[in-house]
């Protein structure tokens, strides 16, 4: 497997599938103290807001992107300098969502990676990027 020390443009970071269930979504919003009904009240999410299911919290998917980087740099001398993402499209409990990334630039001890959360249809619902420093 490729590592940060030998990173080249096009290297893929290990991808991971997430299937967020009611318990994970409950735990996540509980640690935030987030009572937004679209995350736990299915009749409300469907009938009032018109969503097909319980909406997965946006920053939870942002966290999955950080985990892609963490998995890749674990045990190396690389560290996360910056990460950014944007929640473009909603996702729902029960969907299989894939988080992954790809090296887009390597220069001056810094690696740039593009990050994504994709849904089963292949849509990138949460694009992002990160800067990693290599010692």
């Amino acid at each position: 497997m490729n590592t940060p020390a030998t990173a080249q443009v096009g290297d893929l970071l290990p991808a991971r599938d997430h299937k967020c269930d009611n318990i994970q979504l409950f735990f996540y919003n509980a640690v935030l103290w987030n009572a937004h009904r679209i995350h736990f009240d299915l009749p409300y999410a469907r009938e009032v807001e018109g969503y097909p299911g319980l909406v997965i919290a946006g920053p939870l998917m942002g966290d999955w992107l950080a985990q892609v980087v963490d998995q890749w740099i674990e045990g190396t001398r690389a560290s996360l300098v910056q990460i950014e993402y944007s929640n473009r499209q909603a996702a729902y409990v029960g969907e299989v969502l894939t988080a992954g990334g790809e090296v887009t630039a390597v220069a001056d001890g810094l690696i740039q990676v593009a990050l994504f959360v994709k849904n089963e249809a292949g849509d990138v619902i949460t694009p992002g990027s990160a800067t990693i420093r290599v010692e």
Partner: protein, 151 residues
């Protein structure tokens, strides 16, 4: 382009929230790590906080009467905007130091920008909030910029 942003609204740029100080505990890091599906042992054991842990640490703890009927707490730093439907939101986070149990962290939040763009289906309002997280001695820990879009 329509002009939704009058001088009164734009005068809110630069507005700062009351600083908030929170104590980082191993218990809270562990809860966050489990809730987000972390796999690294040092996060699950609460020895170090995962990169987005501060999102939970500084989420507003509000009382019931402060919630809207849909369960949302309104950010008091924000003015009332002429558009209210929230679309995409994003974060940009820059790391200066790790967060560990026992850290006492203070967040300073500033509304740094409000601007308007025309989208495919009408005008959009963008706003940006910068949060600086630092230790008691002023050491910077995290700089976070939130961008949100309203339609």
């Amino acid at each position: 382009m329509s002009n939704l942003l009058g001088p009164e609204l734009l005068a809110n740029i630069g507005k700062q929230a009351e600083p908030k100080t929170e104590v980082v505990t191993r218990r809270d890091i562990r809860k966050y790590a489990i809730a987000t599906g972390q796999t690294l042992r040092r996060y699950l054991d609460g020895d170090e906080a995962p990169p987005l842990y501060h999102v939970a640490l500084f989420w507003d703890v509000v009382e019931r009467h402060e919630l809207t009927p849909d369960g949302v707490s309104v950010d008091k730093l924000l003015p009332k905007f002429p558009l209210e439907k929230a679309m995409a939101g994003g974060l940009q986070i820059t790391y200066h130091a790790k967060i560990r149990p026992g850290d006492v962290l203070t967040a300073h939040r500033t509304l740094t920008d409000i601007y308007e763009k025309s989208g495919r289906s009408g005008p959009l309002i963008f706003y940006e909030i910068v949060m600086e997280v630092q230790r008691e001695d002023g050491t910077p820990v995290i700089t976070e910029k939130t961008t949100r879009i309203l339609r």
